[in-house]
Amino acid sequence: MSLPVPPDTETILQNCIATLRDVIVPDAQDEWARFNAGLLVGALEYAIARLGDDRADQHRADLRTQVDQLRGTIEKAAHPHAVAALEATSPFEVASRLLVWGQNNPGDLADELRRVLHPVLYRQMESELEAAGPIMSAFERGMRGRL
């Protein structure tokens, strides 16, 4: 190795962003090329935010905690389809089946499922929306013709 300490990934990506923003975007003559160059800046910023932070695993773990909190209530209520929903491996699958069951079986248990599951799912949706902010801004600028 000629480089005992190679540049870290984030630095390389940040420098790519700077070069794209300062050199490539202003000089891109073609509309489609300019649109894509602007989006690449947003895509790289989106990717950098995921370095060392596996949000998908965190979302699964948070949702599993909520599902586990419901397990006793569901088993006590003993609705066969709701109990069967708990057998799915992924907490997203479990929550999906439980919430669909709730839509088809209005009542106290359905209300409880929504009360426990909705807040964590809304939080996850909001955090992913926030993470997608940079690429969304670039996309919306492009769609408005502000390339």
């Binding site: 649109f35 699958e93 919430l99």
Partner: protein, 317 residues
């Protein structure tokens, strides 16, 4: 962009399709950034015609490996039928269903001059044009799926978009999509009539010039269904930045006499948000499969998708 080899093949194809008297020269090519569902190219052509040299512009609309879950075949047939009904659409010049020329199916249409940006001068004419679309004889579109029962206009669309979403799933499903879809199934309204529904109507999807509408565009989502699907889409999606919901409702009723109840508006808004969720999911699938590397697919598959999902939840859950 179209590569050099494809350029040559496309020039030969156009010479044949346009029945020119000699070779076609593609003098200019520009990809339009606005359209996301198809790659759209404006081509400047020059060729010998039967009564002398011809210079003209055409638009080539190319499928994108299933992006947004639609196909050109129905789009072309719909546009041809609409053109036959003297409806303002671009004339189809050629349709290539194979992947031999540009790696994907595509069609060629006349270039229609005009702008697609919101225009207060033509918005009333647009509402009237959409109402006229809903009044066309659906018998001219019998190649499209026909709703059989009174709740089918809703249920066929729910299953179409949910099926697309599931077919393009990346890892696990979203519990919100599953729950909202079930809500839409359980609350599907009765439709009073079946009409031709544009599917993506509103500012940005019609061209205007000199205060007149020159063409309605983007027919890939068109189907037989409930006209309220279009009105809800116009109000909640493409038209939302320009007028409030109440203003749109008043305008539509004043111009067309059509009244939309709050319950029906809520339902069809929800259906349209599910449509958005589903078509955006196709972008996610195509991007992670590395079929298309363009970053607009990452934007559509993440932020655009989540915005539609959030609005779906706010509307029906």
């Amino acid at each position: 962009m179209i590569n050099a080899e494809q350029h040559a093949a496309l020039a030969d194809y156009l010479a044949d399709a346009l029945r020119t008297q000699g070779p076609v020269e593609i003098r200019g090519e520009g990809r339009i950034a606005m359209g996301q569902s198809r790659a759209m190219y404006v081509l400047d052509l020059a060729y010998p015609g039967s009564s002398g040299p011809v210079e003209r512009q055409v638009v080539v609309r190319v499928e994108q490996w299933g992006l947004l879950g639609t196909n050109s075949r129905d789009e072309v047939r719909i546009m041809q039928a609409l053109h036959g009904a003297d409806f303002p659409v671009a004339r189809i010049l050629a349709y290539e269903p194979s992947c031999d020329v540009l790696d994907q199916p595509f069609f060629v249409m006349e270039f229609v001059a005009g702008k697609s940006a919101f225009d207060p001068e033509t918005v009333d004419d647009y509402v009237l044009a959409l109402d006229r679309l809903h009044g066309l004889d659906t018998g001219d579109f019998d190649f499209l799926d026909q709703p059989q029962e009174k709740r089918d206009s809703a249920l066929l669309q729910v299953e179409r978009w949910y099926g697309l979403y599931r077919s393009c799933l990346v890892e696990e499903p979203s519990p919100f999509v599953e729950e909202a879809t079930q809500w839409l199934r359980n609350h599907a309204p009765v439709s009073q009539r079946v009409a031709l529904v544009h599917g993506d109507p509103g500012p940005g999807n019609y061209m205007h010039a000199d205060g007149r509408i020159s063409a309605l565009v983007d027919w890939e989502f068109t189907h037989l269904g409930d006209p309220d699907e279009d009105w809800a889409y116009l109000i909640a999606m493409r038209g939302a930045p320009y007028f409030s919901q109440a203003e749109w409702l008043t305008r539509i009723e004043r111009l067309t006499g059509h009244e939309i109840t709050p319950e029906r508006l809520r339902y069809w808004k929800g259906l349209n948000f599910l449509k958005g969720v589903a078509v955006d999911q196709t972008a996610h699938r195509i991007y992670v499969d590395r079929v298309v590397a363009a970053p607009n697919l990452l934007a559509i598959g993440t932020g655009v998708h989540l915005n539609a999902l959030k609005r779906l939840c706010e509307t029906v859950l």
